[in-house]
Homo-oligomer: 526 residues x 2
């Protein structure tokens, strides 16, 4: 029983089967062996109505509570320029306590300038993505301290780890953006790390770029490198990053410097309060989400006061505290609520929505890691996350990038991409004549209808084991983690560096060399 792919899959040169293939030809032929890698790069557009957890009156209640927080409680803005911008816009500002009470009119008028959708350009135009509406994008984990894999174990990340994660980010067609800190580069000087991190992202990938929105020095360097790469920063954004709120109710100088510099240059900011209910907000989820909303609205409004129309994304990163350990709890029912309601609020304000995808507390890519990831990805997809960050590779509460989990999460993202394609109902796919022809008790393996379609009929998994227990055990009995280990190494072998214009490469090298000298001894976070 069972259809088999045709035997004899050893790659041969399709033009001249006798001629030995060169490396690049071998790579391309091999890639055809990975169902996941041979997928085209394409964004999912959800055919589903976004899933609403709360009713419209409940969303109104959260909105009203947020406006109350903004008007009556207010937020700290630890940056003089930010305070001046608020003051000029008419907000009540106390410069001594660096505190702002923006009123509802100011907030709502400001956010009305923000685009509900924009294009995020990549240096390879085929990798540019739409952010907004029912378009989804998936990105890798970022901000990780450690890297881990089954061979070398867990260690502080270094540039070589980062570069391998970038290669996987590039080759994996279900990742739509995101060279950023997949893992920290501890072997690179802190002072110039941002330069080398972005440079690695530019050299090794051609997808849409993220790089730290940290203060004015780093972001100005990032903008200059982006300008070199794209020729100009005019038009749709080419770089972006997260602006986190120091919840409760505080934007610090580092984040505000980044927000103002990026927004002024027309680049994308992802305004994201990080709230653990019970720690940075009251323990009740309604309060946590109302506070998230107030904080996010303030940041979004500020980007529009800096530059009306600047691309900005409403972000949420709210979950509960584990009240036994005091740690963040990831992949929880409460986190799922926050993911869904965050999407409802973003849509209420007609803003693109940023969430996260592969969050887990697990210390190894085991069943807990997989189910907590599912508890994040499913609501994130159902909430129409226009930007799903941390959708791949995240382990250990965000401390560690796992090469094996990268593969497991990639598999799931490819499944979501397939799921969101839905299926066609038509006379051809209903195939009533085949049902009649095969009749009761027959089987459809050998029919012309099946034969014509079976190769591409279904999602093909590279990771899932579908053979019976005895065959599986006889072949070594590897679990998903062990199989994933083989896969990422195979994927790395199939990586090809995207071409980069030589003059651009040289200009980037020159800029970095100059900045390395200039930044010696400078506090880049100042």
């Amino acid at each position: 029983m069972g259809l088999q792919d045709e035997p004899g899959q050893n790659p041969v040169n399709p033009v001249n089967p006798v001629k030995k293939m060169n490396r690049r030809e071998r790579i391309r032929a091999n890639r055809q062996q990975s169902p996941l890698l041979k997928r085209p790069f394409s964004q999912p557009f959800s055919p589903l109505a976004p899933l609403d957890l709360l009713s419209p009156p409940q969303i109104e209640q959260l909105h009203e509570a947020s406006l109350h927080i903004l008007e009556n409680i207010g937020l700290d803005f630890f940056d003089d320029e930010a305070l001046a911008i608020w003051q000029q816009a008419g907000a009540k500002v106390d410069h001594a306590s660096r505190h702002v009470w923006p009123d509802r009119g100011l907030i709502m008028e400001a956010i009305a300038h923000a685009p509900s959708q924009f294009t995020w350009r990549a240096r390879n135009p085929a990798h540019s993505v739409v952010v907004g509406g029912n378009a989804l994008t998936f990105g890798p984990c970022g901000g990780m301290v450690y890297a881990t894999d089954l061979d070398k174990g867990r260690r502080p990340g270094v540039q070589a780890d980062y570069e391998n994660l970038l290669r996987l980010t590039q080759i994996c067609p279900v990742i739509h953006f995101g060279p950023w800190g997949q893992t920290e580069m501890h072997d690179v000087d802190v002072n110039t790390r941002h330069l080398h991190r972005l440079h690695a992202g530019i050299r090794l990938t051609d997808k849409a770029l993220m790089e730290a929105a940290h203060g004015r020095i780093i972001t100005s360097d990032n903008l200059e490198m982006a300008r070199i790469l794209f020729g100009s920063l005019d038009g749709d954004p080419v770089i972006g990053d997260v602006v986190n709120v120091n919840s409760p109710l505080r934007y610090d100088d580092r984040m505000l410097g980044g927000l103002i510099t990026y927004a002024r240059a027309g680049q994308a900011t992802f305004i994201t309060p990080f709230i653990l209910a019970g720690a940075m907000s009251p323990v009740t989820m309604a309060a946590a989400i109302a506070q998230q909303n107030a904080e996010a609205l303030a940041g979004v409004a500020l980007t529009q006061l800096v530059r009306p129309g600047a691309p900005v994304i409403y972000g949420g990163f709210t979950t509960n505290t584990d009240l036994k350990s005091g740690s963040p709890a990831f992949g929880t029912p409460e986190g799922a609520w926050a993911l869904l309601v965050g999407g409802q609020l973003a849509r209420y304000y007609k803003l693109p929505y940023r969430s996260s995808g592969s969050l887990t507390n697990a210390n190894v890519p085991d069943a807990q890691a997989a189910y907590e990831t599912a508890w994040t990805m499913w609501p994130a997809v159902l909430a129409h996350s226009n930007l799903m960050m941390h959708a791949i590779g995240w382990l250990e509460s965000g401390l560690t990038a796992s090469f094996e989990k990268f593969v497991i999460d990639a598999e799931n993202l490819a499944m979501f991409a397939t799921f969101l394609e839905s299926f066609t109902v038509s006379p051809e796919t209903l195939a009533l004549e085949m049902i009649a022809e095969v009749g009761p008790g027959g089987h459809h393996f050998g029919t012309s209808h099946t034969q014509a379609r079976y190769r591409d009929a279904f999602y093909q998994s590279e990771l899932a084991e579908r053979v019976g227990f005895e065959s599986w055990q006889g072949a070594g009995g590897q679990d998903a983690l062990q199989r994933a280990n083989g896969m990422w190494k195979s994927w790395l072998q199939q990586y090809e560096r995207p071409p980069l214009d030589e003059a651009v490469a040289e200009e980037l090298n020159d800029f970095i060399a100059r900045r390395e000298v200039e930044l010696a001894g400078v506090d880049v976070y100042g």
Copy 2:
């Protein structure tokens, strides 16, 4: 950092702390240590709109295609009484080929008699459940051949395994029904296995009963045991089971005998085509689902011709074939489509919906097992599965019941139950005065609002590991599978057998003793 539960949780007798507790008191006190076991038994009622994958016109297309199949292609019914019932109802019947072509008028009129909702009574009235509407129920895996756990490995199931799985079914408050073949009892004679299986279910649990709808002999025995237990079979149903279709387009004698016997007694049937697209139906999912629908409608209609108003559930078990191995592929995007659209069709016909929950091909409870399970449970929940069978413990394409996966799946069901409770938005939960009081940069750990609520604020996991890497490693570095192993053994220790009236117990014993003699040498599947 972090709130701690109060120290000193060693159980003491609450009435007289000095007096040593007896076994039952110790069990009860211990159970308070398991966040999952101390949950109340309660059904989830989904606050979400059911998730529609297809548009209403597409559902109409599937409906029309199904009627075409019924009227023009027809189905085999390998049972003389079933053929007579169809003929009496006016269907076109060919007795030689045992084939029926029911027309749309007959089908639609018959299914209109089926209740859209009913109560499934358990012998403990607190465990009776509603089947229909937005009510969900979760049940254990069934029909498994093997049992497995980390201690003893995989082996053909025996009565002792089955009884332990029943104990877990009973104690686990997120399981709402279902003593049935959690694993086969290979050490019990086939001839009387159904008697001892149901007897074990009655003795060890007090939840709603399933038992094989296999032929007339077995189902009559089941009905007699149910009558002994409940006094009478009048009123809402007290027993039910799956009636599978031998897809494509065939009901065999065993299933028809079961269907007719249960329906006539007013007991519940779950009509479920088992379709692997590409094998039992055309390879296209539209065809697979149209065929599923035709087959299910025929079975549902037959129950209503037997007894108008008999409780019946529209079931789907459609996924794709893995075209590399010829095996069923579980936890796939295509399976998720079928789960969602099955729910849409059941609602179209105003019938309760049966799906499945923890399906996977994995041979061990690893990351694959967890994510494939999520790929089944999430769409099953979103489709408003009124009866989610196989929601717990399923491994290895349905061959094996895993004790560890039982725990992992239970954890997920408890998370879904919590998720579906949603949360309250009110002045109290918005807690604006606490947000003001704590202010920017503060923290909410110690506030009166948090202190008053933290014990029950969030879902508490028994399985999830949320401590940091070093602490976890220092404590042995167990993965989820190893932790689950400890948990099911602890749960078994906390099991208490539900009381059973002595006269009833005696009558059941007498019945079984008598039937053991009568069934010697009888082909119970005849």
